[in-house]
């Protein structure tokens, strides 16, 4: 019992006293987002891989089907479609990647920390459950859209340079080519796509976060089976498929509501901004209903993180 009598705190003399400064409210949130990025580098790697593969695939397809490409470029009717297709395809591939990455991230976000018991470490620090879940929700709502947006711009810039080089090599002047590819306008349109898809998918991410805070195992089944079971039950009971339609609208609706579908004009319009329909998107009840559900799922996930124990 006498070992502690001669204890002097070893570091009190040579380090300045740390004054417990009031930590700004956002500091734990920013650090928590940063820690999510440390843990989940797939957030970067997945879109990067897709972008690299896409550009490589584009180069190979040019080399492979050069004559076809050349014919399309020569014909003024198909020229614009041929030019725009790789840009749209790159954007679509990366948006899809972002959605899949975000979905799997959410599904593991609150489950993984319980499974490896590290939740006991996180909970020993003064970071509230609300802050933690908010930081996790920031990944699909903020971080992934930003990364996706930046990655699409980089990929499209590379495509733009490649196409310019090919055109110049074939004697097509940039004065003819560049007005066909209004990059800035395409990127404003792209920004709308990124924002509207993130908002539209909010209830999906919210549901997946909720499942990951609830399930003790098999998170994927928990996420997929209940909606599927509802669809089947509705079909059997009423022979209707409102719920199934609702779900498929949830997957594709942001595009049909925020943009005039390409098919209506036959070819893509010369001005990408002309296809934007922000008014229709913002007045879609589905958007706001989705956000309400997202908020409910989010609040439930925060409550569950509070009371659930490690698995």
């Amino acid at each position: 019992m006498n070992t502690q009598s001669n204890v002097t705190p070893e570091y009190s003399l040579d380090t300045p006293q740390i004054v417990p400064a009031a930590v700004a409210a956002t500091r734990p949130l920013l650090w928590s987002v940063r820690r999510e990025l440390w843990e989940n580098n797939s957030i970067f790697i997945a879109p990067l891989t897709v972008a690299v593969l896409f550009v490589l695939g584009f180069v190979i397809s040019i080399l492979h089907e050069w004559s076809k490409m050349h014919a399309m470029l020569a014909d003024p009717l198909t020229q614009q479609t041929a030019l725009h297709f790789p840009f749209h395809a790159a954007a679509f591939a990366l948006l899809l990647t972002s959605f899949i990455t975000g979905a799997f991230y959410c599904l593991d976000a609150l489950y993984g920390e319980r499974r490896d018991r590290s939740v006991l470490f996180w909970k020993s620090l003064p970071v509230s459950d609300l802050t933690t879940v908010l930081a996790k929700a920031c990944i699909p709502f903020v971080v992934l859209p930003l990364i996706t947006f930046a990655m699409i711009i980089v990929a499209q810039t590379i495509l733009f340079l490649l196409i310019t080089a090919i055109a110049l090599g074939n004697g097509i002047s940039t004065a003819v080519l560049w007005p066909q590819l209004p990059l800035w306008k395409m990127w404003i349109s792209l920004l709308c796509a990124v924002v509207s898809s993130a908002l539209w998918y909010a209830p999906i991410y919210g549901w997946l976060l909720l499942v990951s805070s609830y399930a003790r195992r098999a998170t994927f089944l928990w996420a997929v089976l209940p909606p599927f079971a509802l669809c089947v039950a509705e079909k059997i009971a009423f022979n209707t498929s409102y719920f199934g339609n609702l779900l498929s609208f949830r997957l594709t609706g942001w595009y049909s509501q925020a943009f005039t579908p390409l098919a209506q004009g036959g070819a893509s319009p010369a001005d990408p901004l002309a296809s934007l329909t922000p008014g229709r998107f913002l007045s879609t009840p589905g958007l706001w209903m989705g956000l309400v559900f997202a908020a409910i799922f989010f609040a439930a996930a925060v409550q569950l993180r509070r009371s659930r124990e490690p698995i």
Partner: protein, 291 residues
């Protein structure tokens, strides 16, 4: 100052009663050891104190309700719940960065100082460290936090004897300063016997014994009784009697020291021996009550 005050603390999981009305008061500057069998309710009690689980009854930790005021409480309370719960993907430097980022009372230089005495590299990931090193890292992080209450739930389970000794030595030498309070549960009671100031036994969700260590040393005596004085020893109503390698060892509660010295060689019992005696007594009383 009272750090923990519990009155009638209860917790029921379905039909299992994990805590059956615990009354506990822990003052500032104490090192309290909570000893109990697996499933006795130790971890449940600590979880209630740390605001990790709901409970019935009254409980105040540093004057706060740990369930409803958990966020504020965690600035002044720190805990190691189980060995090796640090995330395996994390780098040591990231762990330092993160705790420094979110904890207003974390002294990074102090943590770096503790780590420099170990073989832990700043760049290693937790998964690359041995179990003992993970415990060292966690302790370095926790000791650099200027907390009022530190809770350790089986912090050294599965570690070898060297790491265990180092763990408690640095806890006592580098951390404990009489204004801090430490709660520790462990099955390796011999490791903590000399560092505790208070002792609580939990059995079936109830407190079976609650005493200060000075009191413990005054009250309890173990005697290796000469074979020819066994009946004399039994007449003094020992708490417990056991045989080890042909020797009769009796444990007495509050018996006269001079009388005991006449019976044979006396010494202070180990916590483990007292624990077994207390449990055996409680079990005998339960059987007596049911008959």
């Amino acid at each position: 100052m009272t750090v923990i005050e519990a009155r009638g603390l209860r917790k029921v999981y379905g039909k299992t009663i994990a805590l059956d009305g615990i009354d506990l008061r822990v003052e500032e500057g104490r090192i309290l050891g909570i000893i109990g069998l697996n499933g006795a309710g130790k971890t449940t009690a600590l979880n209630a104190i740390l605001g990790l689980t709901k409970y019935e009854g009254e409980l105040k930790v540093l004057g706060r309700n740990p369930w409803s005021e958990r966020n504020q409480l965690m600035r002044d309370v720190c805990f190691i719940a189980d060995v090796a719960v640090l995330p395996r993907w994390m780098r040591v430097s990231q762990a330092l960065d993160y705790v420094a980022g979110v904890h207003p009372r974390f002294d990074r230089a102090k943590a770096e100082g503790f780590l420099s005495r170990s073989a832990i590299h700043r760049n290693s990931r937790v998964r690359q460290l041995s179990k003992g090193m993970v415990a060292q890292l966690h302790l370095a992080l926790v000791m650099a936090i200027d907390a009022k209450l530190l809770v350790l739930d089986e912090p050294t389970l599965g570690l070898d004897i060297l790491y265990r000794k180092q763990f408690y030595d640095s806890l006592l030498n580098d951390y404990y300063d009489r204004s801090r309070t430490i709660l520790v549960t462990t099955h390796q009671v011999e490791d903590v016997q000399h560092i505790l100031t208070d002792l609580v036994f939990i059995d079936r969700g109830r407190i079976a014994l609650n005493c200060g260590m000075e009191d413990f040393e005054q009250r309890y005596q173990e005697v290796i009784v000469h074979p020819d004085r066994i009946s004399a020893a039994r007449a003094l109503k020992p708490m417990h009697e056991r045989q080890a390698i042909g020797r009769h060892i009796f444990l007495f509660d509050g018996a006269d020291r001079a009388q005991l010295a006449a019976l044979g060689e006396t010494h202070i019992p180990s916590i483990a021996d007292l624990f077994i005696a207390v449990l055996a007594k409680a079990s005998a009383e339960r059987e007596g009550a049911t008959r």
